[in-house]
Symmetry: C2
Subunit: 82 residues, 2 copies
């Protein structure tokens, strides 16, 4: 069966996020002063052929650890949609 | 009140996604052949001070249109978490 999987990769909460800071500056320049604490990460969607939801999740975890996320600076969350 | 908002910005479905293609190639090289159709987008989390959830969503939509997403190539989805 083919599962649709979403992986969210975000900068670790304890680390500075320069890209988020730049976006925050841009939003303030546009007059949106109610915005704070912007963080920018990656969103990856993929299709995984697997025998079960658990197997699809395991493949997504392997992909995240080996390629998609840098554990020193980022954490990831996996969601299997169907 | 302060709302936690997530904005997902993804390449339009009809467009090629070279970054996704590169990730797919990398995963296949790692032996993960069950993976297909990879797309890579952005995930932005931000805090918005607003009087209501609707107002927070409106601010997030304005931010997406004016700064975060390029409507020619990307679409966005907004989720207000609390």
């Amino acid at each position: 069966m083919i599962y649709q999987v979403q992986i969210k990769v975000m900068p670790l909460k304890d680390l500075l996020d320069p890209q988020g800071k730049a976006v925050l500056g841009g939003l303030h320049n546009l007059g949106m002063n109610g915005v704070s604490d912007v963080r920018v990460g990656k969103q990856i969607t993929l299709q995984i052929e697997a025998a079960s939801e658990g197997e699809a999740k395991a493949v997504a975890e392997e992909a995240s650890k080996k390629l998609l996320a840098n554990a020193v600076m980022e954490y990831f969350e996996i969601e299997v949609i169907q």
